[in-house]
């Protein structure tokens, strides 16, 4: 029933809600102070208010009306010309002071008759509870108010600083048709905000926690990436594509399958980023656009690195997306990445590095689910993904399995340091390929003016994976 929904004007939010909040129902917006409840309520208010179906915004006993309006004016969508014409602010606190809860119910009914609104906001609804002399009294008030609101063709938003657990015990949650929770979860020195649809009658919705930011344009939501696994894995087909390094293509049995995910693991400085650049520029030279999503090298550092290899940062088939790992929100990051990939019509993507992204994730399970969904989505679209993964332990690859990499990557290439008698050198091994026969040797490689060059000789297994001394 797409014609019976209250829309927010922000498509990702409406998508998460399966089209929107119930158009003739009661929706609770819950969350602790500072999570943006009033902002989202104002967003709905200004998006839906029309002179013939106005929005009425009731403040109650928690925040003075003047403060709500003053704050509202700092938001881009606040339209001063609409106030008094299609948006009406009223103070229910004064009504409550005079006539208690019964007075509140009667006043709301009178406003419905008089203004014939399409949207009624009560902020804060929770604050009304203190007016009841008993639980029974509050339930009676709720029953009456819900009855009146249901009999009238209007949506209503009940905003309240409810804690999560209250949803199970407070009677207002039983009469609500939809419950949307806003929460802030501490992550190191930062806070991550999440929106969570707890209930939505008569409609499907996108479950789980969706990251959001509060901006002057209102709440900006980044729907959780949760793709269902494609049946039968990624489609094998077409021609193999180059890694950008001919000798490595040979080791992989002819290159990578399009749509595959490849993990490049290795300690710091072992050449993972350069291998990623080979992958992108090797594709770009063949007319296959690529996106470098880096959290490691900022554009200046990347320009310097590319300059050494004779590649320009501003290549028409290369899009660089740099985000500082310090303040990223992975849901927002992936939203930006998908946007960049779509814009560039990219068929290759490098993510450098996985560890930086993981630091931005709230928990490991969530992060694995997120990476898996991202790899699945690219795979379905035939976009080949290369991910760098830093192993902190200089000579060990044991962390690879800890991280359940096999789940994520079709191919795994491990870079390592190799000790010979005089100096340290680099080595490379293909330890896993899906749907290919790979060459199992460990090959020495060097990084020169042309990037990575593989040596002809294989290194005996014993010489690798042992620390110096």
């Amino acid at each position: 029933m797409s014609d019976d929904r209250l829309r927010s004007g922000h498509q990702p939010l409406d998508d998460v809600l399966g089209g929107g909040l119930p158009g003739n129902g009661i929706s609770i917006i819950m969350g602790l102070p500072g999570t943006g409840k009033t902002i989202i309520a104002e967003q709905y208010t200004f998006h839906n208010a029309r002179p013939d179906r106005p929005a009425v915004y009731f403040s109650t006993l928690s925040e003075p009306l003047g403060k709500i309006i003053r704050f509202g004016q700092t938001l881009d969508f606040f339209d001063a010309a609409a106030v008094g014409r299609s948006v009406f602010y009223e103070d229910l606190g004064q009504v409550a002071g005079r006539g208690g809860l019964a007075g509140v119910g009667d006043h709301v009914a009178a406003v419905l008759k008089d203004r014939r609104p399409g949207l009624v906001v009560i902020d804060s609804f929770k604050a009304l509870r203190v007016l009841a002399d008993s639980d029974a009294g509050f339930r009676q008030f709720l029953h009456q108010l819900a009855g009146r609101l249901s009999a009238f063709p209007a949506a209503s938003l009940w905003v309240g600083e409810y804690e999560s657990a209250e949803a199970a015990t407070s009677p207002e949650f039983a009469v609500a048709d939809a419950i949307v929770e806003l929460a802030a979860i501490p992550l190191g020195q930062r806070e991550h905000r999440f929106l969570h649809v707890r209930k939505l009658r008569g409609s499907g919705f996108l479950a789980g926690q969706h990251g959001y930011r509060l901006t002057a344009q209102g709440l900006r939501l980044f729907p959780r990436l949760a793709d269902i696994p494609a049946a039968g894995g990624y489609p094998l087909g077409g021609q193999r594509i180059t890694t950008g390094i001919a000798a490595l293509d040979q080791m992989l049995g002819g290159g990578l399958w399009p749509g595959s995910a490849t993990m490049i693991a290795g300690p710091s400085g072992s050449g993972k980023t350069i291998m990623g650049l080979h992958f992108i520029y090797g594709g770009a030279q063949r007319g296959e656009p690529g996106v470098i999503a880096t959290l490691q090298e900022n554009p200046t550092q990347l320009t310097r690195m590319l300059g050494g290899l004779g590649w320009p940062l501003t290549h028409p088939a290369v899009e660089v997306m740099y985000r500082s790992p310090v303040d990223i929100h992975i849901d927002e990051w992936v939203h930006d990445l998908l946007h960049a990939v779509e814009g560039a019509q990219a068929s290759r993507v490098v993510i450098d590095s996985l560890m930086d992204l993981q630091m931005a994730a709230v928990d490991d399970t969530r992060f694995r689910e997120f990476m898996y969904s991202l790899a699945q989505r690219f795979s379905r679209q035939g976009i080949s993904l290369l991910i760098t993964f830093e192993t902190s332990d200089l000579f060990s690859t044991s962390r690879l399995t800890q991280f359940a990499v096999s789940h994520l990557a079709d191919n795994t290439i491990v870079l390592n340091y190799h000790r010979d008698h005089r100096a340290m050198s680099r080595s490379l091994a293909v330890i896993k390929t899906r749907a290919s026969n790979h060459h199992p040797a460990i090959r020495q490689f060097s990084i020169g003016p042309d990037g990575i060059s593989l040596e002809d000789t294989a290194i005996p297994e014993d010489d690798v994976n042992h620390g110096p001394g």
Partner: protein, 225 residues
Amino acid sequence: MSQSDAPAAGERPVYSISAVARMLDIPVATLRTWEDRYGQVAPARNASGHRLYTRHQVEQLKFIRAQMSEGASVADAHRVLAERIETGEPLAGAAPQPGPRLLIQLAESDPYAAEFEEYFLKTEGFEVEVTLSESAAREAFTAVAPAVVIVEVLISGGTGLELCRLFREQDGTAIVVVSAVEAMDAAIEAGADAFLRKPIDPLQLVSTVRDLLRSSALMAGRSSR
């Protein structure tokens, strides 16, 4: 509610063909013939094939009738209508008929809905008799002889359609069936003149009652002749 995608109140199919025939004093057979011949005013059909007219369509038919009463042939009247629709020129609305205060009976199951319906009808100058049970509704119907009765399907646990059939047998009262569930087909089968889905838009309630009253007034005028 975001009404941008929802059909406007005037575009929802509401009226049965017999209600439209009474409202406009045009025989049912004529309405069918015009529809077949000119395809200009083509009502939606419900699952059982009954025609359901929107308010706009009633306005269009009213316009055709007005053109014909000014001497236009039926074909010309349809042609003028087509031109008006194409140019977007409004069809001149019929002047509201001042008349005696008419009585509307509500046979509601929901006291809150009754409160709003009563208020909006009274604001428009109607007298309203509110009944909240099947037995009270039957008694009042005989006692006050309403011009229009609004019947909720779920009154007294779900006897609204029975009430509708009973009221239909006593000719002369227009019947609007209302319900939160989509019961348009069942309502028309039971003899309702119009069906409104709840929650009811105040404007739609009033305009539906007005339209049906015009048909009653026409009938009253005709029987007194």
